[in-house]
């Protein structure tokens, strides 16, 4: 086991712990949000180790910077939390959920992921310009993917207008 694998295992453990914290903190939505922030940061570090610097920094800026602030604002405005019955039922639903997810992960891992478990050769290791930096992504996004880019901007505009309309007190 080399150093990259050890780093990945540590980061993956923290990411899974953060994901479990999102689901597990029953009566504290702020703690769930902070666990999601932890998960997002660790995922960004995993992206950095994969050589995708631009995606990693976009992950931190967009998710941890914008989306999580939105979540925390709504949690604090609505004064959510500290109520009883945060879970849908009592403990056997949680046990069923844990068993379900363990079975799904084991089944997918056994029947779908086995061909990917041996060491795949990494072709772009010799030329890191081909993966990750903003120049590559920018060139591709504004040449080949320019129409999806425009459609995404239209979608974001619709999202802004729609959320303002929905959250206004009186239209």
């Amino acid at each position: 086991m080399n150093s990259g694998q050890i780093v990945f295992l540590i980061l993956a453990f923290i990411a899974v712990m953060g994901a479990l914290g999102v689901v597990g903190f029953g009566d504290k939505p702020v703690w769930s949000a902070l666990c999601l922030v932890l998960n997002i940061f660790v995922l960004a570090f995993i992206y950095f180790t994969m050589g995708a610097q631009f995606i990693g920094i976009t992950q931190i800026m967009v998710y941890a910077g914008a989306i999580m602030v939105l979540f925390l604002f709504v949690i604090m405005i609505l004064k959510l939390g500290s109520r009883e019955k945060e879970f849908k039922s009592n403990s056997w639903v949680a046990i069923l959920g844990i068993a379900f997810s363990v079975v799904i992960v084991a089944a997918i891992g056994k029947w779908c992921l086995t061909p990917f478990m041996e060491n795949t050769p990494l072709v772009f290791r010799n030329d890191p310009k081909l993966f990750g930096p903003p120049q590559t992504i920018g060139m591709e996004m504004f040449s080949r993917y320019v129409w999806p880019f425009e459609i995404a901007s239209i979608l974001l505009t619709i999202g802004i207008v729609g959320s303002i309309l929905l959250a206004k007190r009186r239209i």
Binding site: A12, L155, G162, L166
Partner: protein, 128 residues
């Protein structure tokens, strides 16, 4: 003339296999899905959906990184553009997630203003 076979021959093995990333992705997706099924606070539900989107982003990026090394028949240039395309897909998923969260939290605010509580079991109707 550099084709994929000679590139594959001189490429070093990756330090982390592709399957490890996919295992992490599957685990996060399952945790998010179970959270959507189990929790009843709609804001936490949205967080679980974000978790699932993040898991999909991770698997997109892992496949994009390892695609030229996988045994598929692609020319080197096609593999390069497909690899960048995976990352651009991640950026679009982030944009759609941002729009979805903005609209969804707006809906939650509107419901809270009408009923003064938010509970997914009580949200059976969309009319005010």
């Amino acid at each position: 003339m550099l084709n994929q076979v000679s590139l594959l021959a001189q490429a070093p093995p990756a330090d982390v296999p592709l399957g490890w990333y996919l295992y992490l992705s599957v685990a996060m997706f399952c945790i998010g899905a179970v959270g959507v099924l189990v929790r009843r606070n709609p804001v936490v539900l949205f967080m679980c959906i974000e978790l699932m989107l993040n898991a999909v982003n991770l698997s997109f990026l892992a496949f994009a990184r390892y695609l030229p090394g996988l045994p598929v028949t692609l020319a080197v240039e096609d593999a390069a553009t497909a690899s960048t395309g995976g990352q651009i897909m991640v950026i679009f998923v982030m944009a759609v997630a941002a729009a979805e969260v903005a609209v969804g939290l707006g809906i939650i605010m509107a419901i809270f203003r009408q009923k003064n509580e938010v509970d997914v079991d009580d949200m059976s109707t969309l009319r005010g």
